[in-house]
């Protein structure tokens, strides 16, 4: 008996010592604003606790003291004007005392002006991924830009087939790398429906709305990896488009930009290379998993009524040009978006080739593949 009790207490203790049970409050964050917001939050929290303690304290005392067994004769009073004025005026004063510092902080948050030595990053919400454009870093004639897709494999979230990783649903293929101690303006918008870019550690939450650009300015004080989420219901995979920001020193940031540039230049070489069907299939399969399988499913069967099947689809089997056009332009009025910006020529050709060869499509259809130069030709208008 005593042994069992001990085990039980140990279990309780282990719950309470695990960090997750204690993860019950807002993070302080790593920006000046986030610290100020945290202080506001704690101040208003303690005010509400104090109000609660006083009101409920008096209420519970009265409930106990004036129970019928203790007080047979109820009083008859119905009003007391002095008291009523008092409990209108005092709350008003408390509210003003809270609203004033909140207004001051809000004004600071609304300082959206560009600053000397600062940078602008455009954030575009897509179903269901984020695109980042570094407006101050040019590669060729375009800004440095990439998409950040969830990398948690479906085996981890669907039916828990494998054990979940440490950063389950909070990991992406491309982190947003930014320098610390630099005023960054995130210019937030959307390509399709409304999303919301939420980074708790910066106290930033701004809706990404098609046709609007919302500004969130932040200066990160400490290097580190910060993770956030989409917080506006944007459809099926709303929970699967996380944000990962890696804040580094200025030097590391410059190095990262250099690497990014080189990688983009490498791409030209890859486009020219002679690709075999097997190489394209292998690369395409990986891309299919992160970019396409969410809707069209891993087995290419789609979801009836929402997402068409690719397995056995006439376009995928027999109409090479038609398929390239759909991927490049999207289908207006449907959830099929344009992948022209999201995939480079190689990845685009690879994923199309994959769908044309997988699920027996090659046996039932014409079995032709698409090579990167086809995409280049399409872009030139030669296909």
């Amino acid at each position: 008996m005593r042994y069992k009790l001990g085990l039980f207490l140990l279990l309780i203790a282990s719950f309470y010592t695990s960090a997750d049970w204690l993860d019950v409050n807002m993070p302080v964050g790593v920006t000046d604003i986030s610290k100020e917001v945290f202080e506001l939050h704690m101040a208003i929290f303690f005010v509400t606790v104090a109000i609660g303690v006083i009101v409920f304290g008096f209420m519970f005392y009265s409930m106990w003291r004036y129970r019928r067994s203790n007080n047979k004769k109820p009083a008859k009073f119905k009003e007391n004007h002095k008291l009523e004025i008092l409990w209108t005026v005092i709350p008003t004063l408390i509210l003003v005392a809270m609203a004033v510092p909140a207004s001051v902080t809000l004004k600071k948050i609304y300082d959206h002006e560009a600053e000397e030595g600062g940078m602008d990053i455009q954030v575009v919400g897509w179903q269901w991924k984020w695109q980042y454009k570094y407006l101050d870093e040019q590669v060729g004639n375009k800004p440095l830009s990439f998409f950040a897709n969830l990398t948690t494999p479906p085996d981890q979230y669907e039916y828990n087939r494998v054990e979940k990783g440490e950063n389950y649903l909070l990991e992406v293929d491309e982190e947003v790398v930014v320098p610390v101690n630099t005023p960054i303006r995130f210019l937030i918008t959307s390509n399709d429906v409304i999303h919301s870019w939420y980074m708790s550690d910066f106290a930033v939450k701004q809706d990404a709305i098609p046709g609007f650009i919302n500004v969130a300015k932040t200066t990160i004080n400490e290097p580190g990896i910060y993770r956030g989420n989409c917080t506006e219901l944007c459809g099926e995979r709303h929970a699967y488009m996380p944000i990962v920001v890696r804040a580094v020193t200025k030097e590391e940031y410059d190095e990262w930009v250099l690497e990014k540039r080189e990688a983009m230049e490498q791409l030209n070489f890859l486009t020219e290379k002679e690709w075999t069907a097997d190489e394209l299939y292998a690369q395409g399969e990986e891309i299919y998993k992160t970019r396409c399988a969410a809707c069209h499913q891993v087995n290419g069967a789609g979801i009836t009524g929402f997402y068409p099947a690719l397995a056995g689809s006439d376009v995928v089997m027999n109409d090479k040009t038609g398929q390239i056009e759909i991927l490049m332009e999207g289908i207006r009025g449907s959830q099929m978006q344009s992948f022209a910006e999201q995939l480079n020529e190689v990845d685009m050709a690879a994923v199309i080739t994959f769908t044309r060869l997988a699920w027996n499509n090659d046996k039932q259809g014409d079995g032709t593949i698409v090579v990167p130069n086809d995409i280049v030709d399409y872009k030139k208008g030669d296909l």
């Binding site: 409930m63 007080n71 008291l83 409990w87 979230y157 429906v193 409304i194 709305i209 993770r227 099926e236």
Partner: protein, 525 residues
């Protein structure tokens, strides 16, 4: 009073037999019963959906459903609970109680009353029929933000259902206003009206004001989806934020539509079981009127993160905080009513006390949400989910349960089983807190709402919340059992029922005769 005796002459005017009684009835008590049972069925349906949601969220990962199904459950849970459970329950109570509380023989417009009830099941059949269609139920959240909703399948059914619900609500409200304005017993001035009647008078005006706005919003949505307009489509020059302004101009008063009648109910019950007149009857009325008026100028606090200009953010923050003042007055008045009373704790009183405490907790977290800079952290996280469930479940729904226990003896003539009632209360009370309190924690820690799946750091408290939800949900079967049992059997209730109860409804027999107050009672000021 004299009204009691006269009813005996009219017993041959009793209801028709069988199903026709319910289809064709124009009797306010029958229609009230229909509304209440409809609401109960919807409450259990929406509750089953909530348990589906909580089962999926019991641990991270997708266990029971894909995210499409999850979004459909979240959407339908919201729509069913708001338009199917809470609002019809209050309309049912209004039908039963308003004529009896003001000494009127029936509602002023009995045929319209019948129509406004029967439109409601029709609307839900239209809405739920999409479950059997390709594309399925709506899955864009009960707030149906454009442009997510405009691209959804079967949206025309959703729009039509909302229109029908809106017509039903507007007709019900017209009926309430006309009844209260014209059919009060001689001598009953407006200020003397029982607070439940007052709360419904204000609610009815709110409904008439905002239901057409909702109708406008869904119509614009329909035009965008099927007739090539671009009200909310940025690509066509439209404005997605406009949708939110229109929606929340309806939505915020709607929130108070779901709480004002609860204020009325709570005032009656607390006064009865404290055996003491309500403290500050007139300040209660003024507080409700102020809350109603303010509800029209705070809508954009639901939209602090859409990128409004600073001036708008400041205005909506300050305006929202002002609402705390009249709401505080109400809470203080209830506490002052308890003070120096002679209090007993029957089931209705337990629910009413829990209402005051838990609604106030929801109100205080609402105050935190009003602080715009902090709202940038709270917005669309589980903190908001915890907040509005605290004001809606132990708020609105506890008040409805309190009302059912309080007036059930008057409706059925039988006392409910007090022990069972108390058991139901304690199970619900524990269940509701275990469900929703931990949601404050995961919300502050950053868990977004409407997520089918979540990061590992939120796992522990979500599991606790799910256990609570199942406890709360299953306890409601006990409520169903208690109500059915009381309908058929139980200790006979007296006309007065509760020794501290005051008001005209307690002067007629229990159960209340089919027709009451055919000759108006005289009320002395």
């Amino acid at each position: 009073m004299s009204a009691v005796i006269e009813n005996h002459d009219h017993e041959h005017h009793g209801p028709q037999k069988g199903i026709l009684r319910w289809l064709f009835t124009t009797n306010h008590k029958d229609i009230g019963t229909l509304y209440l049972w409809f609401s109960f069925i919807m409450f259990l349906t929406g509750g089953a959906m909530a348990m589906g949601i909580r089962a999926e969220l019991f641990e991270p990962g997708l266990q029971l459903m894909d995210p499409i199904r999850y979004n459909q459950l979240v959407t339908m849970h919201g729509l069913i609970m708001i338009f199917g459970a809470v609002m019809p329950a209050f309309v049912g109570l209004a039908n039963w109680l308003i004529p009896m509380q003001i000494g009127a023989p029936d509602m002023a417009l009995p045929r319209m009353n019948n129509l406004s009830f029967w439109l409601l099941p029709s609307a839900f059949i239209i809405l739920l029929s999409t479950a059997f269609m390709e594309g399925g139920l709506p899955g864009f959240g009960w707030t149906f933000y454009a442009p997510l909703s405009t691209n959804y399948p079967n949206i025309a059914y959703f729009v039509f259902a909302i229109h029908v619900m809106g017509i039903s609500s507007i007709m019900g409200s017209i009926n309430v206003i006309v009844t209260i304005m014209n059919m009060r017993a001689p001598g009953m001035t407006l200020m003397q009206m029982p607070l439940f009647v007052w709360s419904w008078l204000i609610t009815a005006y709110l409904l008439i004001a905002v239901m057409p706005v909702l109708a406008g919003a869904v119509t614009m949505l329909l035009m965008d989806a099927y007739f090539g307009t671009s009200f909310f489509d940025a690509a066509g020059g439209g404005d997605p934020v406009l949708f939110q302004h229109v929606f929340w101009f309806f939505g915020h008063p709607e929130v108070y539509i779901m709480i004002l009648p609860a204020f009325g109910i709570t005032s009656h019950i607390i006064s009865t079981f404290s055996r003491k007149p309500l403290f500050g009857q007139s300040s209660m009325v003024y507080a409700m009127v102020s809350i109603a008026v303010l509800s029209f100028v705070v809508w954009a606090h639901h939209m602090f993160t859409v990128g409004m200009p600073l001036a708008a953010e400041l205005f909506f923050m300050w305006a929202t905080m002002i609402i705390a003042i009249p709401t505080g007055v109400k809470v203080f008045n209830w506490v002052a009513t308890i003070f120096k009373g002679s209090i007993t704790y029957e089931t209705p009183m337990l629910f009413a006390i829990a209402f005051v405490v838990l609604f106030t907790i929801g109100g205080l977290s609402g105050l935190m949400l009003a602080i715009t800079p902090a709202d940038f952290q709270y917005h669309d996280t589980y903190f908001v989910v915890a907040h509005f469930h605290y004001v809606l479940v132990p708020g609105a729904i506890f008040s409805i349960m309190a009302a059912v226990y309080y007036w059930l003896p008057k409706w059925t003539g039988n006392m409910y089983d007090e022990k069972m009632g108390k058991l139901h209360f304690w199970l619900s009370f524990v269940g509701v807190n275990v469900t929703f309190f931990p949601q404050h924690f995961v919300g502050l820690a950053g868990m977004p709402r409407r997520y089918a799946d979540y990061a590992l750091q939120f796992a522990e408290w979500n599991a606790v919340s799910s256990v609570g939800a199942f406890l709360f949900g299953l306890s409601q079967l006990l409520f169903l059992y208690i109500v059915i049992k009381t309908v058929f059997a139980g200790k006979k209730a007296t006309a007065q029922v509760w020794d501290g109860a005051e008001g005209l409804e307690w002067t007629v027999d229990s159960p209340a005769p089919y027709h009451t107050f055919e000759t108006p009672p005289k009320v002395n000021g």
